[in-house]
Amino acid sequence: MMSPQNNTMQAPASGVTVRMYNTGFGDCLLLAFRARDGSARYMLIDCGVHHTYSGGASKIRKVVRDIMRATANHLHVVAVTHEHTDHLYGFKYAREIFKNVRIDELWLAWTENPTDKVSKNLKQLHGMKVRALTAAVRQLRLSNDPLGGTLQGLLDFEYPNALSATGGNPAQLQYLRTKSRKKLRRAGDYRRPGERPLTLSGVDGVKIYVLGPPRDVDWIKMLEKESEMYLALRGTNEVTAFAAAALATEGTDTLSNEDRELLRRSRPFDESFEISKNAASTHPHYEAFFRNHYGFSRRNKHGPEWRRVETDWLAAAGQLALQVDSYTNNTSLVLAIELTEVQPRKVLLFAADAQIGNWLSWHELSWPGEGEDSETVRGENLLRRTVLYKVGHHGSHNATASESGLEMMDSPDLIAMIPVDKEWAYGRRPPWKHPDEDLLARLKRKTEGRVIRTDEIPSGNRPPKKPCNVNRSEWQSFIRKLDWDRSGDKLWIQVTVPG
């Protein structure tokens, strides 16, 4: 439904049109709503491409040019779900093109609030873990351990700036903060799960529920307790004690005072027991023992190399890597957009990269009824009414809950959207299984084939082929809601959900 005259993206008469851009490997979704006065309101959810995707920068520049054309340089809302490059790097690679954009509101999760004590601690801890993991990976690769390569794959998902000492907000978010007309000042300006449903100015019949990231009460309690116990805000536990040692493999001179203190506290014995390697190789009593039985070099009369244990301990970094990976994904801002003027009400679920912990927390949420809506809305109600699901984390198996997620989406009209490049993801070594085959099969069943992917945008005018076991008229009505970029660029595909 492109208007050939001005190239802007048309808002549907009722409901919403969701355009999914093909950035290569990354999320970039543009939503168009119709306001009371008939004009369009645009909402952009993420704009990113993975930083290791080759040609990603030029691809996303094309995408951003199209966004600017489609919205006439006016974004009413920009929501950034989390800090991974595949959700964010459009604002880096295409900053020049965004120069003239007008952004009315910026939506960020509470985890991005620099003054939130909990989020600050979480971030700081996370930053430390990322740095420790980076150090561990470097050592593992130096010793040719294949685990080094595997862990690098996980680290690749991390935003490179997280390597800075504070793990603070990356420059791209800073840029958006200054661009946005409405400033984020107080805690209330950040999006929190369970807050009063949001609306879009001038648009009727749309309510937006914030589902995540969860504010886990236990987490908060623990951090507050710890902050009383230690000034450094973090105690030693299995992971931090390991991380401190991993950081120290790069040399102790560059450690911050805090890391140094952590390293000191994580040592197993009083320092008087320790004999450093240097000291051991010249020790008056034990030099011969350590040389014969452990060894300091490859020479004769040194213990054999194959029995030494220099890097075996670093394999524990796997645990760290899993924590690092799920942390950022679990801080994903999750939005459920409800169309209220249709019966039954329809919900569009934008799950970002939320992993299981995040999903489970939605079930604890509820919103009291307002005005003529006297019914309390619960997380489960929203899932049950979902008609469009932006699949979590490019369809990886761990970012779509089954029983408490996908299996609750009962609507016969369900459509799934996956921004993914399967060939690229599976071609990585080791492969990223995005999308996961089992999940994909389930999605196809639940949606009766209505799965839209950025790596399967139709060519030219030929619509997607009907799967064999699907009713023809149903498929036709789905195709009618669909539109896509008919140029050779295959920049986007979109679907309209009427309200």
Binding site: F273, Y294, D312
Partner: protein, 660 residues
């Protein structure tokens, strides 16, 4: 210098005594267990125990790579330490850690050697291209090698790596939040890891995940040794017997493993228990009732192993109860019903003796069974048959119903051999070769003299390196005997494939004949209850084929349609022969056919299907597949850089949180 005092030199001490924690440090903090938690372990005196400690079997080297520090080795020959049975238990002194890890590991080795009646050898270091294995004299122990809640045996480094870690600040059990916890101070973890190494020394293919039971058996065996070792400390035993009034089915420390570790990683009680556990729901202790279905759906190796452990422990309890029935009747004037209150100390002492004796019998039975296992692809059913056959050979008259108790306990946990008609003792015994087979074997073994030279003196005082060298020679001799074309009938009887036209996936020698590896030649010598010495010669032979996940590729390779690509896994077969050297007859031939298509399919299904969906596995891959990847890569890479650590992997990968 003072001149030596003439005539004051005493006799050589028979034992060296060393102090250790009976369980782990945390039980010293509880009033009720404080007094029994320090034990003194009695080891045979060794003149050449050096700094470290280092002796003929073990070398403790205390390097802590995470802290980039060495810790000074303890000198157990120092006068002050000799006079007080070593250092007193202390968590904060690394030298005590060295002493304890040495003492417990050494005592575990002793149990193993006693049961088998021969010296224990560590698994050799494979030479280049699988030839000329190198003897590994000592198992290395690193008490502080890892900074995580983990400890494992490394078959690559022939070493035990113990970790230490900080207790969580939220979930710390009886520890202080953030306090250091050392796995090398847990009696059970030390005994467990040492048992892994001992088992690997005996069966080096039991670390290959060829079916669901192999890794589980490794874990189960290690747990069995650790559990029954509890019964060898008399003070602990008496204390627990008194506390439970002789009822070892109720919650007690003897039937539980790694208490502190279990608490710290967020369990409410021990890491594993053979008798029961604290329920997640009620937080109350509930006994572990046998459930014959559990084995069907339990795949994680530790949990699956725990079913076997529970079965063995059930058998132990049955026999123990049977053995103390008369004592209870005597003590109660015939009723057998104990009055309320504490037991009389003499009764406690006698019950403890019975418990200790039963535990020793069961432990030795479990160890001896290892000589009766197939060399590859073992499963729980094979192990049951091995248990029964080994015990039958030693104690033909099962007066105390040990075998009955074992069979019944296994049945209740749903553990059966794959192709046995019923669970009677006779049908569980391994087959003896038929007359044709026997004749073929006799043709190459000929007489006892010819066999005698294959069996060196493996007595408990022989030098272990000499044993290794002799065994290498015997392996070469047997290899020649069996591959000699005139011995083709014997090879056939042993289910060995030496035909040129065998499936192409076989690994072959230069002449195109499938290779045969004689794995092990060893005597199994033991003393029966009647005092008679029973000796068998145990010979293990294996062969290997390339395995592929894709059945079509497999088929094409086997039919010689394509040049074999790098295999996805190695499929092995082979046999264990138990030979009576007195008449050169083969008592048992326990085999896994290397040509079996069914078994190959089963293994492929096991490796490709039912992937454990833990988050860890998604990112790091399935440990079973990765094991074979490492193996097939390592065979073309003599430095073994790509060899992987199955136990490190096993622990880390399965303990990750499952995705719901």
């Amino acid at each position: 210098m003072t001149p030596p005092l003439i005539g004051t030199k005493g006799p050589r001490p028979p034992n060296r005594r060393l102090r250790a924690f009976a369980f782990d440090p945390i039980l010293s903090r509880r009033i009720e267990t404080h007094d029994i938690n320090e034990v003194t372990i009695k080891l045979p005196w060794e003149d050449n125990l050096g700094l470290g400690p280092i002796d003929d079997y073990l070398e403790v080297v205390d390097y802590d790579p995470a802290s980039q520090a060495f810790y000074a080795p303890v000198d157990l020959n120092e006068n002050c330490l000799l006079a007080q049975n070593g250092l007193p238990p202390s968590e904060s002194n690394p030298q005590f850690h060295q002493q304890m890890v040495y003492a417990v590991a050494r005592t575990t080795i002793r149990h193993f050697e006693h049961a088998l009646g021969r010296r224990a050898l560590w698994s050799p270091r494979p030479g280049i291209k699988g030839l000329n294995d190198k003897c590994v004299e000592r198992l290395r122990i690193y008490p502080h090698a890892l900074r995580e809640a983990n400890a494992y045996y490394s078959p690559v480094k022939k070493a035990l790596l113990f970790g230490y870690f900080r207790a969580s600040t939220t979930d710390f059990g009886e520890n202080l939040p953030g306090e250091a916890v050392f796995t090398c101070l847990s009696h059970d973890i030390i005994a467990h890891e040492t048992s892994h190494a001992l088992l690997d020394g005996l069966h080096r293919r039991f670390i290959e995940p060829t079916n669901m039971d192999v890794w589980a058996l490794h874990e189960a065996f290690a747990d069995i040794v650790a559990l029954f070792q509890h019964f060898t400390y008399p003070e602990v035993l008496r204390h627990q017997i008194a506390r439970t009034r002789g009822d070892l089915e109720s919650q007690n420390l003897l039937g539980e493993l790694a208490f502190q570790f279990g608490q710290v990683i967020g369990r409410y009680g021990a890491l594993r228990s053979a008798i029961g556990e604290i329920s997640d729901v009620t937080k109350e202790w509930v006994p572990n009732e046998p459930d014959p279905e559990e084995i069907q759906y339990t795949t994680e190796p530790h949990k699956r192993g725990a079913i076997l452990v529970a079965a063995v422990f059930d058998a132990f309890l049955t026999i123990y109860k049977w053995r103390i029935a008369d004592l209870l009747r005597i003590a109660t004037g015939g009723s057998g019903v104990l009055p309320a209150g504490e037991l009389y100390p003499d009764l406690v002492e006698r019950l403890a003796q019975e418990a200790a004796k039963t535990a020793r019998h069961i432990l030795y039975m479990c160890i001896r069974a290892l000589d009766y296992c197939p060399p590859v692809d073992v499963d729980f059913g094979d192990y049951l048959r091995a248990l029964i056959t080994a015990d039958y050979d030693l104690v033909t008259d099962d007066r105390l119903n040990y075998r009955l108790a074992v069979i019944e306990a296994f049945r209740q946990r749903g553990i059966y051999p794959r192709d046995v008609r019923n669970l009677s003792e006779e049908s569980l015994l391994w087959h003896k070769p038929d007359d044709t087979g026997q004749k073929a074997f006799l043709n190459i073994f000929r007489n006892s003299d010819r066999l005698a030279k294959l069996v060196p003196d493996w007595g408990l005082t022989t030098d272990r390196t000499r044993i290794f060298v002799q065994a290498e020679r015997s392996r070469a001799i047997l290899q020649r005997w069996f591959t000699n074309p005139s011995a083709c009938k014997a090879a056939k009887a042993a289910h060995i494939v030496l035909d040129k036209d065998a499936p192409e996936a076989f690994y072959r020698d230069v002449k195109g004949i499938p290779t045969l590896e004689v794995h092990s030649v060893r005597p199994a010598r033991r003393i029966g209850p009647g005092g008679q010495t029973v000796t068998d010669l145990v010979v293990e032979m294996t062969q290997r084929r390339r395995g592929y996940y894709d059945p079509n590729t497999q088929d094409k390779v086997d039919r010689g349609k394509i040049k074999p690509p790098k295999p996805d896994f190695i499929f092995r077969g082979g046999c264990t022969l138990l030979i009576d050297p007195n008449n050169a007859k083969v008592s048992y031939c326990i085999f896994k056919r290397v040509r079996s298509k069914k078994r190959l399919d089963r293994m492929r299904r096991f490796l490709t299907g039912d992937e454990s969906q833990s988050l860890r596995n998604t990112y790091f891959g399935d440990p079973r597949k990765i094991y074979f990847q490492g193996l097939t890569t390592a065979s073309s890479d003599p430095h073994g850089r790509s060899a992987i650590e199955p136990f490190a992997f096993l622990h880390r990968s399965f303990e990750g949180k499952e995705v719901k």
